[in-house]
């Protein structure tokens, strides 16, 4: 079994009356990518800041590569590469000068930083641009330089706080291919938060944070398997009318529009009766029905189910529930 590069054990942190992170336990091993999802205000950034040693937990322990963050913060931080959504580069310095700066901050001397720097620039595909000023880089290149600065001291663990939020799909592709290579070739562990489901599903493990807690955690395939055979997909129009009609049928637990289709969460026992009822609805209400079939659930389906349960007690859910009933 691979070693635990990150172990957070029952950590909590409050700001005044607000409990930002509640009794959270999380681990990441070498060669693993842990994808963290959750809305703004769920505590993801507070968690990241505690894990990288910028903020102390009120209680609980953090071990990085076996080192206790509280007792040996400097040693623990040596093993961490951290990239936040709003990382900053020195616009007036060149690519090489930026990397050198971050290397020196990390305590690397010239004999160490020079070969390492070239190696990383080669790795992220910026070797041809070492003398270009950071201010003149495209968005994608900046992203790569940001990753390079986080890698300069050979970290074992990467903490990435929404590194791809709002960036070009082309850049997201390149960034993820680099991450996967790092995990495979250098066996680093990665904790990455992301707003994109398609990124989360390619992680070894995913976790969903709500209100400071991890409300769902597991390997994506496993999470999907638990819901298989329970999602009906309907293509037709108008979708909003379809949705209202479908939500009323017995056996339909939830109806959500996904792009240009409708996903129905259905009790496995009711699959056939719901399908028949929908076809009947199409005839009676003269609605356009292109296709209806059971599909593999998506991670979105899984998260929405968990969220619906989680919010069952809250007013927001009651209200939207009434609206669509």
């Amino acid at each position: 079994m691979a070693e635990k590069l990150l172990l957070a054990n029952h950590i909590s942190r409050s700001f005044g009356a607000l409990q930002a992170v509640k009794d959270l336990t999380l681990q990441v091993r070498g060669g693993e990518i842990f994808g963290l999802m959750g809305p703004d205000g769920a505590g993801k950034t507070t968690l990241m800041r505690m894990l990288c040693g910028a903020l102390l937990p009120d209680s609980g322990e953090i071990h990085i590569d076996g080192v206790d963050m509280k007792r040996f913060p400097d040693k623990a931080r040596e093993a961490i590469g951290y990239l936040s959504q709003r990382f900053s580069l020195y616009e007036d310095l060149t690519v090489l000068e930026n990397l050198r700066f971050f290397a020196e901050v990390r305590g690397l001397d010239r004999h160490q930083w020079q070969p390492r720097t070239m190696e990383i620039l080669e790795f992220v595909g910026l070797a041809e641009f070492i003398h270009r000023r950071a201010g003149n880089l495209s968005g994608g290149m900046r992203q790569k330089l940001g990753l390079a600065t986080a890698l300069v001291h050979h970290p074992r663990l990467l903490l990435l706080d929404e590194p791809t939020g709002g960036v070009d799909p082309v850049t997201r592709q390149d960034f993820w291919q680099l991450l996967i290579r790092l995990v495979r070739e250098e066996y680093v562990g990665v904790l990455v938060s992301t707003p994109y489901m398609d990124e989360a599903i390619r992680c070894t493990y995913v976790g969903m944070m709500i209100g400071g807690e991890l409300v769902l955690e597991g390997a994506p395939d496993q999470l999907l398997k638990e819901m298989s055979g329970q999602v009906l997909e309907l293509q037709g129009s108008p979708l909003s009318i379809w949705r209202r009609a479908a939500a009323k049928l017995p056996g339909v637990q939830d109806a959500q529009i996904f792009g240009n289709r409708l996903h129905l969460k259905v009790d496995q026992a009711s699959l056939r009766s719901v399908t028949r009822a929908l076809k009947r609805t199409a005839r009676q209400e003269k609605l356009n029905l292109i296709r209806i079939e059971t599909v593999d659930p998506t991670l979105d389906d899984v998260f929405i189910r968990v969220l619906s349960r989680h919010m069952d007690t809250s007013d927001l859910h009651t209200q939207t529930g009434e609206r669509h009933a």
Binding site: G38, P39, D40, G41, A42, G139, G165, G166, V167, D168, P169, V170, T171, Q173, W176, Q177, I180, R181, R184, P195, Y196, M197, D198, I201, R202, I210, P220, D221, S240, Q256, I257, F258, G259, N260, L299, D300, F303, I304, L307, S308, M311, D315, L316, Q319, T320, R323, H324
Partner: protein, 313 residues
């Protein structure tokens, strides 16, 4: 002929040497939901700010709700609602107090109307709560209430769903459609491709240029140069390298836990399978699939990059 609520002609904004919005022309009809798609920094917000008369274009022109944005910006703003990306709410005021404050700026004082507005967006029960204690999904609804309290006919929503959970995202889109049913027109920016699928027409921005604006179906039909495939194979990175070398393969990329491949129309499943199995990849599965808007975006980006490179040569 339906009413045109937005018309732009070569709308351009430069900041020094940097062209933030580059000769953008498009039209929006009353009652449409337009998705305005593009990464950060592609010019979406700058476009909206010009359409609201908050920022002067460097060149080009635009009419919003029949008013020229240069000569009649006040009329444009009186009849348009705007929810900005980083909406400003007063954290130490209640939901109700926030709405009263902003409504007052438009001269809306009628209590029944304010109540109806909160009800419309589903947060009437929260009206006495302090904004600082609200989850982000409710704050977003309050920001929407503030954007519609003066009964605008046209709504500009700038990345309204970033940072909320998937359930809140979905119900927010339901709200947008309900408002449109009530007679509004909405232009919504987003960087989530799947959200754009909800829209009747979608504009795709990249580096200041509006690359296209059309229905999602038409884009998939006209812009994508071939067939989309979902391919499973292990290890992923080796599979990418193998597939890139297959004749007819136009693009290979990660998509969720598998690969997304675009090929020419005459490429056969068997040739993709054969390439993978002769190179000893594991658990190979090749399925033809329907294209999505991310495929369209990547195809457009590739086209444009090639154009830029050939121009530089």
């Amino acid at each position: 002929m339906p009413e045109l609520v937005v018309q732009t002609h070569n709308l351009t904004k430069k900041f020094g040497d940097f062209t933030a919005v580059d000769a953008v022309s498009f039209q929006v009809q009353a009652g449409e939901v337009i998705g305005y798609l593009g990464p950060n920094g592609s010019g979406k917000t700058t476009t909206i700010r010009m359409l609201l008369g908050l920022l002067l274009p460097t060149s080009g022109s635009a009419e919003v709700l029949g008013f020229d944005i240069l000569s009649h910006p006040e009329q444009v703003r009186r009849q348009s609602g705007y929810m900005s990306q980083r909406f400003a709410l007063y954290n130490d005021l209640t939901v109700w107090e926030n709405l009263v404050f902003y409504a007052g700026a438009y001269g809306e004082k009628e209590k029944d109307h304010l109540i109806a507005t909160l009800d419309r967006v589903g947060i009437l029960n929260q009206s006495r709560e302090l904004v600082s204690t609200l989850p982000v999904g409710w704050r977003q609804r309050l920001a929407l209430a503030i954007a519609i309290v003066h009964r605008p006919r046209l709504l500009f929503l700038d990345e309204p769903t970033s940072g909320v959970d998937p359930l809140a995202r979905r119900s927010f889109w339901d709200l947008i459609y309900e408002l449109v049913d009530d007679g509004m027109t909405a232009l919504v920016t987003t960087h989530f491709m799947d959200e754009a699928e909800y829209c009747q027409r979608v504009g795709i921005m990249r580096a200041g240029k509006l690359l296209t604006m059309d229905t999602p179906e038409a884009m998939k039909r006209d812009i994508l140069p071939g067939i989309a495939w979902n391919i499973r194979a292990r290890p992923l990175l080796k599979a990418i390298a193998v597939l890139e070398a297959v004749p007819g393969v136009l693009r290979v990329g990660l998509s969720g836990n598998h690969l997304r491949v675009i090929t020419t129309r005459d490429t056969r499943k068997s040739s993709l399978r054969r390439a993978l199995s002769t190179n000893h990849l594991q658990s190979v599965q090749v399925d033809r699939t329907e294209p999505d808007l991310e495929d369209v975006f990547l195809a457009l980006a590739q086209e444009k990059d090639q154009f830029v490179y050939s121009k530089a040569d």
